[in-house]
Amino acid sequence: MELNKLLLCLFLCLQGISTIVLWSLSSTDVASQAKFTIFLAVDLLCFAMVAYSYRKLSWGLLINPAWILVGSFGLVVLFLSAIFFS
């Protein structure tokens, strides 16, 4: 249970960071808009994972680690893409 809560906190922190970053970008040039897209995707993916974990815990079900791994892999890919676009 503690690990689940830790994961939830981690995803919430990531969501917060990506939200701050995406609103700090320049809003008209092409590269910044690509990065905006990436950080918004990070935001949504974190939200999806938080909602998934919360739903499973509130229904008294086990969190499937495979989905968390897939989501985390997606986040890594998105962050790497952000580095590529910068």
């Binding site: 008209t28 092409v30 897209t37 918004l40 995707a41 998934y52």
Partner: protein
């Protein structure tokens, strides 16, 4: 503060709940089996529509619907408006997603018999919503006033003349207005931002009301669950989860394939370009390019396409069998698979042959071949995967239990892929014979042949499993063994 007294947050939530009625049962609870993305394809299409609404309203602040200013204002949104490129890209891809989700929703409902009694009217309303969605695509395509969009729309509008006289003048009035580019663009804009959204929202209200009356359709198999889940907060959280995953996917695609604005429309550029519609109309475009439908044959082609739409609308009154289970509806499931295969085949073919007239023989060969292959393999799969009662004295099978649904789904995927591979093979082969070999056509043929080989192996594997589970292979092997022994 005692443990029983609510916290400040709890009291705040209660304050809002009493005033807004958030936790009151406005919508009926959802059965537990509906916690599955396939039950929410329509809801995701609505999410796509909402995103389009938000991005579209922001773009409306800058867009000017006149032939002289439309392209410039689109370019302005693209280059000068904050996050303008992002808005345009997301608007486009959510439109594509909405069309794709609406199609998947329709086909899923078809395969699980969600159109049957008592949901016939829901199906018809859903079909009309699908046409409105296509209408969004058709009207929205013209608005940037690029050479590609204007040329393709001109072809579409030109077909109105081929409709029956009275209907033709009505559609012409509705779409083109007084005539001329300015009136046409204004009509398309009005339809896109006012009329179609209003019609779609009205139809959505009717459909949601009927959903409340009839509830979510029951599963076709034995996986019925008795539990009910409240729409708020449980199902709402699930829907938000799905919407977030959908949004992430759209954003990923937007990042990988950002939109670029084609050249503006000028009559000179239009004369040089080959008109081609967006991907969701490619299948109709390819039908219209078949040589027999050229010129005076155009009304026949339009009648054929209209007939397909009418048959889809009237489906609940055609497919009236009592059974809803997929394994018990081989004919209709096969027809559905053939329909999907043909649509994909026509769209891909249309994409590969822009502006080319398709000879009738080639069309019959490719479309007939695809239908034949998908149809035969599908019916064969149904025949072999059908369970038969065990006869007395037959050897008991100790293998895994056949899951009819999984087997049918696996067969459907293999059959569809096989049909597409056959169609691609035939198409590439005919292209090479007619135009000579080039790298792309040979590579396409190679990929198609490889895909065909894989699907043949997969089909044999699935047939083997099916045979083994139903026991007939074992009986035949036993019979063969007896015959060999009798020879000895």
């Amino acid at each position: 503060m005692t443990g029983d007294s609510p916290s400040k947050t709890g009291r705040l939530a209660e304050w809002f709940d009493r005033r807004l009625g958030l936790s009151y049962p406005l919508l009926r609870p959802v059965p537990a089996y509906a916690i599955n993305p396939f039950y929410w394809l329509g809801a995701l299409a609505v999410v796509a529509f909402l995103i389009q609404g938000i991005t579209g309203v922001i773009m409306m602040l800058y867009y000017l619907p006149s032939p002289t200013a439309a392209y410039a204002s689109t370019e302005y949104i693209f280059d000068r408006v904050y996050y303008g490129r992002f808005l345009e890209t997301v608007h486009l891809y959510t439109a594509y997603a909405m069309i794709m989700l609406a199609f998947m929703h329709m086909m899923r409902d078809y395969f699980v018999s969600a159109h049957k009694k008592p949901r016939e009217v829901m199906w018809i309303v859903g079909m009309v919503m699908g046409f409105v969605t296509l209408g969004f695509g058709f009207t929205g395509y013209l608005l940037p006033w690029t050479v590609v969009s204007k040329s393709a729309t001109d072809v579409g509008v030109g077909m109105i003349d081929a409709l029956p006289a009275g209907f033709s003048s009505f559609v012409s009035f509705l779409v083109v207005g007084a005539g001329g580019d300015a009136a046409e663009l204004l009509r398309f804009y009005d339809l896109h931002v006012v009329v179609l959204p209003a019609v779609l929202l009205a139809l959505l209200t009717v459909k949601l009301y009927m959903l409340e009356v009839h509830g979510i359709s029951e599963p076709t198999g034995s996986e019925r669950a008795a539990g009910q889940i409240a729409i708020f907060p449980d199902v709402t959280i699930y829907l938000m989860e799905l919407a977030a995953i959908f949004g992430t996917t759209v954003l990923l695609i937007s990042m990988l394939f950002p939109l670029s604005l084609p050249a503006p429309y000028t009559p000179a550029l239009a004369a040089q370009s080959i008109p081609q519609p967006d991907w969701y109309f490619l299948w109709i475009y390819q039908i219209l390019k078949i040589s027999i439908f050229e010129g005076p044959g155009l009304p026949v082609a339009l009648s054929a396409v209209t007939l397909i739409f009418i048959l889809l609308i009237l489906l609940p009154f055609i497919d009236r069998g009592a059974s809803r289970a997929i394994p018990e509806r081989p004919i209709f499931v096969t027809l559905g698979l053939v329909f999907i295969g043909e649509i994909i085949m026509l769209a891909l073919w249309g994409l590969m042959t822009p502006g080319q007239i398709i000879p009738l023989g080639q069309a019959v060969l490719v479309l007939g071949g695809t239908a034949l292959v998908i149809g035969v393999i599908s019916l064969l799969a149904f025949r072999l995967s059908a369970r038969r009662p065990e006869t007395v004295g037959s050897p008991k099978i100790t293998g895994g239990k056949l899951n009819a649904f999984v087997m049918t789904a696996a067969f459907a995927i293999v059959v569809s892929t096989g049909g597409l591979a056959i169609g691609s093979c035939l198409s590439s082969f005919v292209y090479i014979i007619l135009n000579g070999e080039d790298l792309v056509s040979v590579a396409t043929l190679g990929v198609a042949l490889s895909a065909l080989a894989v699907t043949i192996i997969a089909s044999i594997f699935l047939l083997y499993i099916s045979e083994r589970t139903t026991g007939r292979l074992r009986r035949r092997l036993t019979l063969f063994e007896r015959i060999v022994r009798s020879w000895n």
